[in-house]
Symmetry: C2
Subunit: 299 residues, 2 copies
Amino acid sequence: MSLVIIGSVAFDTIETPFGRRDRIIGGSGTYAALAASFFTRPGLVSVVGRDFPRRFLDRLRSRKIDLAGLKIKQGKTFYWHGRYDQDPNLRTTIKTELNVLQDFKPVLPESFRKADLVFLSNLDPESHDFILDQLTGTRLVAMDTIRYWIENKPEALLRAIQKVDILFVNDEECRLIARELNLVRAGRKLQAAGPKVIVVKKGEHGAMLFGKNFVFGVVANPCERVVDPTGAGDAFAGAFLGYLDSTGRFNQRELRKAAVYGNVVASLVIEDFGVDGLLRASQLDIINRYQQFRKLCAF
Amino acid sequence: MSLVIIGSVAFDTIETPFGRRDRIIGGSGTYAALAASFFTRPGLVSVVGRDFPRRFLDRLRSRKIDLAGLKIKQGKTFYWHGRYDQDPNLRTTIKTELNVLQDFKPVLPESFRKADLVFLSNLDPESHDFILDQLTGTRLVAMDTIRYWIENKPEALLRAIQKVDILFVNDEECRLIARELNLVRAGRKLQAAGPKVIVVKKGEHGAMLFGKNFVFGVVANPCERVVDPTGAGDAFAGAFLGYLDSTGRFNQRELRKAAVYGNVVASLVIEDFGVDGLLRASQLDIINRYQQFRKLCAF
């Protein structure tokens, strides 16, 4: 099995009530790849500038992440600066500098093109076809999106959704795309538009899956100290797909377990700044959290 | 086993995007008793005015609800008029007339005083001692509250909480009482204050239990059409306690199942106006919904 993730690698400056971190490593691709690496050996397609620290790339390689698709380009790495309120659900973007990401055309190395699973993370929906055309024999394509594309390229986004198998959205995005306030109806509506399954990430309220013949709901892993929510959604998707890739079976039973692993890995992320929680955890930590979480949900 | 519920019986006028109903039967005691009646034969302590329809009392009796504690007094029945937004979580109170509830002193009939479970539903926390002093041999006391008491009698409320075994709160109330934004910390803090278990009702996001040695989380039963959310929380508590009463075992396993039954019965309520969903459902409907919900949550 094999999973390829196409997403950003970035510098983030993050302010939360617990403190501030300047220019730490972030990006949707980084979070997703690290999360997936607990389960499989993902390939990462991205671009960074010459200012990006080589030792962090070595760190990713040591987690068995394949960086054959990572370009190092003249210029500066994508930069994002955000601030969270006392309520970790409220965040303000202070600065976004696209830099080398500006005119990034993701070209997949030959070895990535026959990947079983491909994840298009927060990309311009108009760039999807360029990637899809490179794939040969991929079994599942997954995508995530952000509010920016919903507001600025709604038609391209809808076309892109119709071509994927798994759509990750948060509850707000789900309602916005479906133009439907009731989340259950919104999820079903998006599922009917094409994807095999809609994965709705509800943050502190857990997640829901909408498949053709089933609905699955699961609470979030309770967390007493939300230090930094950045990347939780990306890590959820990465763990979800990494787990699926490790099983090779894309049935309802495994999709449900994938969502729980997504939950569990996302709970690791928010307990610390940036990717620190992901870097510190072992596979055993993930298994332990999964087992504890099973007990929490049991009735 | 036996369960006694002390709460209001009311006329409600309800406006929602699905329509308007004038002076239909409502009240926290009504919802809780009807919900409990799927599992046990609850006693109801309340007061209504002479304007209250006898045929509805017969309806309650036909559901095996013991009305020995229901007073019919000179005057008008408690009246509430509320309006819900497109978002069913947002509601505005347009009118509240306490009427006969104004100077109601709940006196329990002799046969109610040795009840195993007693539920104090949304009562003035200063009236709790008057009721507790009437009890002989009760095993569990449960209470619910409303924002009004949190804001107007915070100290009396905290004293009341310390004396009960089960506290039902919604997520907002939990945060307000505990003065703590993080719901997990807030729930644990309230539990440490005295009750054996805190039951946090999260509406469309499900419920959480905080016990001394466990946390339990469960999503809500997905609902595509929220017609009228009135009484969902009261029905949740009534079903929770009704189920517990029917088992006679107040351990962790049964508390978890009780919360799921609470969930399931609350989902019946919101699909129709007032108590219509509760009146229409049979015990078999509850069992079917429970089994379907188990499948939805399974992983």
